[in-house]
Symmetry: C2
Subunit: 255 residues, 2 copies
């Protein structure tokens, strides 16, 4: 059964989607069958890979509720080994629909178990909140990857997030591990970035990936072309960092 990794951080704009798209694409390029699942109603993971998510009838929402099969909701991409289960605004209905349902925390976990053996890796892109959709992702996952900006507000939210992860481990998913912390949008010209990296490494040591993703405009341009960075600008600093990150992540699995 494939490894399921949730990308979560309730702080907004820290690079969850950018990391999900580019990690998925590099894993696929390394020959791993990879599924990118979007559980954020903004739908950026799908649109960042060129899908017109706003006009899709069958998305992760219809599949979660049982109205659609996996085959109709899942979209193949132009890239071998990379498939996407996109989201759009319909998914905002999930929290309301599931409000009084027992087992509402396990919906994604149960559905993903049905298809997990078709993939080597399943990445789940979360919204910037700690609501039912993120809880579903943490309950379904084998591990959680935490993208963190090299910014002041980034440290504040981490305590809250680690508390929620502990809660999920105790009550919903005892197997959930921390895949690690990935520092993003590092700007070598500013003292603040260097300070945040030093603070995070001091507190979390080995749980922080060696690779730091630099701030690189190519990463923010790539989604407007519907391409992962490895396709859009493979020699950019952003591409080289995400490629190295994917290699490190794979090496950790073998260790």
């Amino acid at each position: 059964m494939g490894k399921i990794i949730a990308l979560a951080n309730q702080k907004g704009g820290v690079g969850k989607t950018t990391t999900a798209i580019n990690l998925a694409a590099y894993l696929a390029a390394e020959g791993k069958k990879t599924l990118l699942v979007d559980v954020d109603p903004q739908g950026n993971a799908g649109s960042g890979l060129g899908l017109d998510v706003m006009n899709l009838q069958e998305t992760v929402y219809q599949w979660l509720l049982g109205g659609q099969t996996f085959e109709t909701a899942m979209k193949k991409t132009r890239w071998e080994n990379l498939e996407v289960l996109p989201a759009n605004i319909d998914l905002a209905g999930f929290e309301i629909d599931m409000r009084d349902e027992d087992g509402r925390d396990y919906v994604l976990r149960r559905r993903l178990r049905e298809v997990a053996d078709r993939y080597d890796y399943i990445l789940i892109d979360c919204p910037p909140s700690l609501g039912l959709l993120t809880i579903n992702a943490l309950t379904a996952a084998d591990s959680v990857l935490i993208p963190m900006q090299c910014e002041y507000f980034a440290l504040e939210g981490l305590t809250q997030l680690l508390r929620i992860i502990k809660l999920v481990q105790n009550k919903l998913n005892p197997e959930l591990k921390l895949e690690g912390l990935l520092l993003t949008m590092f700007d070598s010209r500013t003292r603040l970035s260097t300070q945040v990296v030093a603070d995070v490494r001091e507190h979390f040591g080995k749980q922080v990936f060696e690779v730091v993703i630099p701030r690189n405009v190519k990463l923010s341009e790539a989604p407007s072309y519907g391409e992962p960075i490895g396709v859009y600008d493979p020699l950019s600093s952003g591409a080289l960092a995400y490629k190295k990150f994917a290699e490190d992540l794979l090496a950790r699995q073998r260790a």
Copy 2:
């Protein structure tokens, strides 16, 4: 009665908190009695002004539920005319507590009416979601200000947000106006920024503020000193842009 402006955008990391803090500080500096209300459980508006929000017992949450008076929850700042109603993780309980309550959309509106006449402006910083806390802010507000990054994903989320605003206008708060769209984190070195600005101005015309806030590292350093940009680095490009924005916003009120 003071004017209540909600700062909302479900896309994360677009500059809602940075705009709320710095607009509030410049309005206060112009002699306007200003209250900054944080309805984001991350609590960045309070911590960005130097408050140790994690250890506060009385916050916006206790005031909203009626357990505390406004005087104990509200915090004065070092700066004249600027007061803060901070949030912390306790506020995450609000959505669960209010789940089956009638009138749960009007809680903030009712509570703010009790104190609105003490202020000229009340700014409400929203979390990156369209849940009950943001709905409460839109229901309480006279107008909504939408900070938008000059990035590709920014345009995607705008349609969803405008739809929710329409919904609130129809069902909860017919007086709600659009204060405007404020473009943030503009990076003059990238084509993408210029493209997004052009697209947004084309679609929204006069609803977009003339001033564009540049990407400026001083803006992300200021909260680590607990100071608004006008205090931390008053001649930085970020400070000058927010000062001009506050002046434009005030001029619009008089028009």
